[in-house]
Symmetry: C2
Subunit: 166 residues, 2 copies
């Protein structure tokens, strides 16, 4: 945990100081610049980033204001939006990427042996599997489809912080 905190603080500071990009900005631009035409459906981007949709919506709004991306309604699906990287955004990430990569090497990769790197990867994989398994179990534990009965909701939503799962 401490390692991650230190690592990401350093990386993000470099990114912000040199290019005015947050880590979030960087990820968005990275995905967009790798996509065909430099554009993606909003929900695709959300899936790739594993972000809450509200977070994505708000962050894209801010990035749009800064001229890094553009948004317009999708023709095929009238409710959806396609997000595209702008020339400005493209320039920025083309500038940021190599430095970013260099930073990561400089602070992490270059100082690990091949064995350590490999081990790190397998650890990550193991944890990923375990988390997926737990998520699965959770999903299975809940009612398949609660089918919100049209009448008699019974209890108020209860904004209380400590709630027993009934």
């Amino acid at each position: 945990m401490k390692m991650h905190d230190g690592l990401s603080e350093f990386i993000e500071r470099q990114l912000r100081n040199r290019c005015g990009l947050s880590g979030a900005d960087y990820q968005v631009l990275a995905h967009l610049s790798e996509a065909p035409e430099g554009q993606l459906r909003s929900f695709e981007l959300g899936r790739l980033l594993r972000w809450e949709k509200s977070r994505l919506s708000q962050h894209l709004g801010r990035m749009q204001n800064r001229g890094l991306v553009s948004r317009e309604r999708c023709l095929a699906d009238q409710r959806g939006a396609v997000v595209a990287i702008t020339p400005r955004g493209s320039d920025l990430i083309k500038d940021a990427a190599p430095q970013h990569v260099a930073d990561v090497r400089d602070v992490l990769i270059d100082h690990l042996t091949a064995t350590e790197m490999a081990m790190l990867v397998t650890i990550g994989d193991k944890v990923g599997e375990r988390l997926a398994a737990l998520e699965h179990k959770h999903a299975a534990g809940l009612p398949p489809r609660p089918k919100p009965a049209k009448s008699a909701p019974g209890s108020k939503p209860s904004t209380a912080m400590v709630t027993d799962t009934p």
Copy 2:
């Protein structure tokens, strides 16, 4: 990075759902409960957590409102404050701690071999050293003590996001 995100999301969710505590709350209570008399000077706590002082101040305010900690002025140093864990806070963390530990084992430790654990530790140490070295280098690169000349500040603070270090 993905590993850390998944890990901390899972851990924090458990903590929040079961006890109504955020990770931050947990750390504060953990440190306080380990301290003699269950109390600490604010700045000690800040040093232990490596938190910005404003963050600490605000978080303690919220925790105080929830009745998890209490604050009063320090007798020895009239500007300082001592933070103490309340009975309620104490109960909460006594309840949370074992489950928290179990979660960490369940999702990480139990699935790693001794070799992997050891490797993970050495990796963390290496990164820590590297980061410390870089920080040191940075500090050295800056003027030892800028000695803010009483007159002629020269340039406006410049709220611009992209700034070249002059």
